[in-house]
Subunit: 226 residues, 2 copies
DNA sequence: CCAAATATTACTGTATACAAAATATTGAGA
DNA sequence: TCTCAATATTTTGTATACAGTAATATTTGG
């Protein structure tokens, strides 16, 4: 939709601001509830209020910020309820995605998926790789599946739902055991897709998401005890 | 998300402009490919360019307009491919919705659903009722199911997907036979939900969407022959 | 009369200015 | 010292101004 992510010099400032603010929110640099004040943001980023406001409109529509009437924007708070709502939808759409991927992935698509998995695996093997790299490699792997569905709308919605959970994805990547079991799960998914075995693929992806859900809920429980 | 739809006088102009433009696009008054020029829109709506631009940012993020670099916004074109992409996702999420509705709808929710259906039925019976009323009553019926899921994210995404197809929904309501079969389908869905029979409910809702898909694709075929 | 070069126009992208509203602050009186 | 009102400050919402670029019209040479 908006996002092709190549920051070239012809990209409008609003896009740059949008990407910058979104990254800050998803990485937790801007905390939930924090106010986004236009003038200070404008000063910090060295632009005027106009592109700041337009970026906020985009973030608002994506659900990452909420507008308080006459009080401006603040970073959206995520409740356990909302997170589980997202996961419920996501599980359904991930299932649809893997089904369609089984039907529609070409040999090249499958090669790209294997390639992405190998990359993720190498980051897991490397003890020095940081969480951001790891998370990106995981995203890239799942993206190859999404792309395999050939359904642009599905790709877009899934990418969006994933972003809503970025902060929590980081959590479950901290655990080394979790990482290696992710590799196992990825490989099972790949094999199922390769043999076009949609029943198996659905089973594995469901398990994959369920595992994530468990870890995320546990980490929220832990966090709410602070 | 953005949309609580009560146009009160404290609503920012950007919201009013956003809702106005969206309605125009969905009702086909602004045609696909048509350019949205800021100054003329500003003059027409009696506001300055600022709220127009912010509304365009929201529409852009919703996918209803696309930005051509340095050429501004134009109404997004919908291809058959895109429409079928939307329908594929929608079928999956409608299925999820009816499942969760079976689990979670309260007696009041079910009463509201029956009520909405009766209203739709009376519009169908009335030969004078216009298509817009009919479409709204149909929307209201399905909304009661969405609300029954208690999943705000799901409600929001389904509402959004439905909007993408507004133009085509009108098509299949033109046929009187179609309308009465809609009533039958609605009733079947209600009974399944009432008895918490999720298998049956899923079967009926799938059929419901499949019927829509058939009619819409037929109407697009017909239209593309112009 | 046609084509290329140039001038003009129109529109976007960005910055800034101004008004109204909300919030914070100050000060007077009890 | 506390409370409440008046004032100041901050911040949003909207309008407008200005610059740069792409599209279009115009002119000029062949």
């Amino acid at each position: 939709m908006v996002n092709e992510n190549e920051i070239n010099e012809f990209m409008p400032l609003r896009e740059v601001v949008f990407l910058t603010l979104r990254k800050s929110i998803l990485r937790g640099e801007l905390l939930p509830g924090e106010r986004l004040m236009e003038i200070s943001l404008a000063n910090k980023l060295g632009v005027s209020r106009t592109p700041i406001r337009e970026a906020i409109r985009m973030l608002e529509h994506e659900g990452l910020v909420v507008m308080k009437p006459r009080r401006g924007a603040q970073v959206a708070k995520i409740t356990t309820q909302e997170l589980n709502d997202v996961l419920e939808v996501r599980k359904s759409l991930e299932t649809l995605a893997i089904l369609k991927a089984c039907e529609r992935m070409t040999e090249e698509d499958i090669a790209a998926m294997r390639q992405a998995e190998r990359r993720f695996e190498s980051f897991v093997a490397d003890k020095d790789s940081d969480l951001t790299e790891l998370a990106e490699a995981d995203v890239a792997f799942h993206d190859t599946i999404y792309q395999g569905t050939k359904n642009r709308r599905l790709i877009q919605i899934l990418a969006n739902l994933r972003e809503q959970m970025y902060r929590f994805r980081i959590e479950y990547l901290k655990d080394a055991d979790m990482r290696s079991s992710l590799v196992t799960e990825h490989k099972a998914i790949i094999e199922a897709v390769c043999s076009r075995d949609s029943d198996k693929a659905v089973r594995y992806i469901t398990e994959h998401i369920d595992n994530q859900q468990r870890v995320i809920n546990a980490s929220i429980e832990a966090a709410s005890e602070d």
